[in-house]
């Protein structure tokens, strides 16, 4: 039986592309804002574009942060994409408006760390870039090192702060990329996975990442 995947509709993101790309993996995909359906699905995709603060506000209004927390507590897979990854961290620091001062917004806090503006000569980081996954990555299994993925973002996690020291629980698999400086391109941590790039817009390489994730459901 094919896996049941919910793409969480909380008013952010190109949901149609996420839905269609996910369907290509063979999953049965529903786009909904209903917390119960999102909670019960085999896999939950959390998309997101735009401002961190706006995404967090809409996500919390839709009860999405609680759904994510409960799913993770129950070992049920969640995949955050782009700002849908960023909101999983403790906080985002961004300009409140054009020309305004930086303000910090609290995220879902599933991982410690801060989403900040990338320090690079040209921002947004827009286009196809390479990544360096660790050996224990499952998301990037079977993908060649020269494969490229589509990024479009001005903010990123520049420091990975979660130091997990346990002999029994596998450490999170953190994948890095670089634009002016290194930043976190993907995280795989038990049931919680996330990518800063858009797998649904990354052609065949992106399709492979999504298929790898669906295979874990």
């Amino acid at each position: 039986m094919s896996s049941r995947v919910v793409v969480l509709d909380y008013g952010s993101g190109n949901l149609r592309s996420a839905q269609r790309a996910m369907e290509r993996t063979g999953a049965e995909v529903t786009v909904t804002s209903d917390p119960r359906t999102a909670l019960e699905a085999d896999g939950l995709v959390v998309p997101g574009v735009g401002a961190f603060s706006a995404c967090v506000a809409s996500l919390k209004k839709a009860g999405g942060d609680r759904v994510i927390g409960r799913r993770v507590a129950g070992g049920r897979p969640v995949l955050g994409i782009c700002v849908g990854m960023q909101v999983l961290f403790e906080r985002g620091v961004e300009q409140a408006a054009v020309h305004a001062e930086d303000v910090a917004t609290e995220g879902c806090g599933e991982w410690p760390g801060t989403v900040e503006r990338l320090k690079a000569p040209v921002v947004p980081h827009m286009g196809w870039n390479t990544i360096t996954p660790p050996e224990n990555s499952r998301l990037f299994a079977g993908l060649a090192p020269e494969e490229r993925f589509y990024f479009v973002h001005s903010y990123a996690v520049r420091h990975w702060e979660f130091v997990a020291s346990s002999d029994r629980i596998p450490a999170p698999a953190v994948t890095w990329s670089e634009h002016g400086e290194p930043f976190v391109a993907a995280v795989e941590n038990g049931p919680l996975s996330a990518t800063q790039f858009h797998p649904e817009k990354s052609g065949d390489a992106g399709a492979r990442v999504l298929a790898n994730w669906v295979a874990t459901l």
């Binding site: 592309s17 735009g50 054009v98 947004p124 360096t132 990329s177």
Partner: protein, 257 residues
Amino acid sequence: MSLAIRVIPCLDVDAGRVVKGVNFENLRDAGDPVELAATYDAGGADELTFLDVTASSGNRETTYDMVRRTAEQVFIPLTVGGGVRTTEDVDRLLRVGADKVGVNTAAIARPELLGEIAERFGRQVLVLSADVRRVREDAAPTPSGFEVTTHGGRKGAGIDALEWCERAAESGAGEILLNSMDADGTKAGFDLELIRKVRARVDVPLIASGGAGAVEHFAPAVAAGADAVLAATVFHFGEFTIADVKQSLREAGHVVR
């Protein structure tokens, strides 16, 4: 590890059909934007741009349907420009599957539109499309000698092009599509001076457009500061392919996908 230079084919569409003849073999329907988009995707396009030239607003529904059908089958980024006047237009295009939206004339008429779009959807969706030419001798000069035009390059807007690009990037444009109206259609190469000057003024990604006539024309545009290169006719008529352009860029030492 570094970002690849993007090669972007641009398709002019009218009421959901590709116009400005496309001349590919093995296409069942050269006017079908979805089939063409899939062909360019398979050919290595890093993004696709649709320029909607639909004159009648009553035909906009066909544009939305075209974007919807394309986004359902092609899994690379899709930019749609032409006729975008309000944040509602942007919302509609994003909802049917566009990833980025190009704004041109409406932003000249009302520059606040850029900030409104950026605040509501994020600056990553907003591409400022600027049609730029050198100021004619009989016209009022601008500080840089370049001006923004409207009506497909036929009318000067009396705005300095470099100041306009800088202002747009500060107001919320996440990217600038720089069309040289002097170079457009000449097939004599990109306007390198214009690219250099805009690059020096903005730190958002810059797409160079206008003048491509040979594969050798693309690397100099990148060297001048373009992050992406866009062309239409040369690809549509099969004069050379996206792969040819990438090979040429690679030989010049640029990173491509």
